[in-house]
């Protein structure tokens, strides 16, 4: 695969590359933002309660808990 050397491309080549890319992007099918927001919200909310950094981790289940302390048995 030929190496595309952006730093040595002429300004004209860069401009052509940009236009070609924009022509592709203009054809994208875009979903309604309202639908996307709903989905993001639902996805996050369904996982928030089980998110260890949000709800906290009980001391005994924390693999990073600090060592030390005495146990009287």
């Amino acid at each position: 695969m030929p190496i595309i050397d952006v730093e040595n491309m002429t300004d004209l080549d860069k401009a052509k590359m940009e236009v070609d890319q924009l022509k592709k992007e203009v054809k994208l099918e875009r979903a309604q933002v309202s639908k996307c927001c709903e989905e993001v919200m639902e996805y996050i909310q369904s996982g928030t309660d089980d998110d260890p950094l949000v709800k906290g981790i009980p001391e005994e289940k924390n693999p990073f808990k600090e060592k030390g302390g005495c146990v009287i048995s």
């Binding site: 730093e7 993001v40 996805y43």
Partner: protein, 340 residues
């Protein structure tokens, strides 16, 4: 009209069309959608471990998929693989070039990679039969610094570079499979989608680009930032992307709406974002800043809900474990801290 002028006009006209198309689907805001949701409670994470051993600025860290081991890269010329539960150093790998800017752990756990001002991506085999960690491959072809690298598997890795391109490499043969060109500024960061079919890159041209790995094409370009994008990550569901920029803001872009949903900013924050990572559910966005702190954002409500303060210099890298149990920050103060 010269050809250059014609192309410039064509580009402007296409950009206007795209802006209009995005506006046409922009029928709601995330703020309004979540108005009935309460802000998540104050998040107070504690430093559980401090990983000490590097002798100079830490530039990068990456968790292994086992959520226990992690690798860090420092300009002391070392890659260190840590057992984050015990703080023991599993491997201390001396590098040929100390000007390292990035490191990565392979999903299999068999390899790590790094690179920087040497313009190369060096792959190290952690599981060599004789027990010694050696350079397995040196991937050389970039004409600029290596800013980021991420393994797809033990046989493929993607790199981003100051030469404005990203490259997909065949590790076995050491050759470039695909060159992803399109950014008009240094590529600073990349992240692979959860399904490994696409990746996103953030660059000094203030844009983020979504690339189809197999087709070798840029699918989408996201603007809006006013300065270099230094950090980028996929949202856990793979349908959104978060970015962190020198313009002191983070943004959430939705891939299907092809636009920004929200910006995470505060007038009191005036320094650049260096690193970014979502929590397991995506509810929290942890972002490292030049002012030595890491801010924790409620991703839905766009409010700061916590701060990780504990480093004595810039937070250069951040990562959340795959199981979501902890986050790790790496700093120019030479320490890594594990928080939860």
């Amino acid at each position: 009209m010269g050809e250059m002028e014609q192309l410039r006009k064509e580009a402007e006209s296409l950009k206007d069309e795209i802006t209009a198309a995005r506006k046409a689907v922009n029928d709601a805001s995330l703020q309004d959608t979540v108005s009935g949701t309460a802000v998540v409670g104050r998040v107070q994470l504690k430093t559980r471990k401090t990983l000490r051993g590097h002798l100079a600025k830490i530039y990068a860290m990456h968790w292994s998929t086992d959520s226990k081991l992690c690798v860090s890269a420092s300009q002391d010329g070392k890659l260190i693989v840590w057992d984050s539960h015990t703080t023991n150093k599993v491997n201390a790998i001396p590098l040929k070039s100390s000007w390292v800017m990035t490191c990565a752990y392979a999903p299999s756990g068999n390899m790590v990679a790094c690179g920087g001002l040497d313009n190369m991506c060096s792959i190290y085999n952690l599981k060599a039969k004789d027990g010694n960690v050696k350079v397995m491959r040196e991937l050389a072809a970039h004409t600029g610094y290596l800013s980021c690298c991420r393994f797809l598997s033990d046989s493929e890795i993607i790199t981003s570079s100051g030469d404005c391109t990203c490259v997909l490499w065949d590790i076995e043969t050491g050759t470039q499979k695909t060159v992803f060109a399109g950014h008009l500024g240094d590529c600073m960061s990349l992240a692979v989608s959860p399904d490994f079919k696409t990746f996103i890159s953030g660059a000094c041209d203030s844009t983020a680009k979504l690339w189809d790995i197999r087709e070798g094409q840029c699918r989408q370009t996201f603007g809006g930032h006013e300065s270099d994008i230094n950090a980028i990550a996929f949202f856990p569901n793979g349908n959104a992307v978060i970015t962190g920029s020198d313009d002191a803001t983070c943004k959430l872009y939705d891939l299907r709406a092809d636009q920004e949903l929200i910006t995470y900013q505060d007038s009191s924050i005036m320094c650049g974002v260096t690193s970014i990572a979502p929590s397991l559910s995506g509810r929290l966005i942890l972002a490292g800043y030049d002012d030595f702190n890491c801010n924790i954002w409620d991703s839905l409500k766009s409010e700061r809900v916590g701060v990780l303060a504990g480093h004595d210099n810039r937070v250069s890298c951040i990562g959340v474990t795959a199981d979501g149990m902890a986050c790790c920050t790496g700093s120019w103060d030479s320490f890594l801290k594990i928080w939860n």
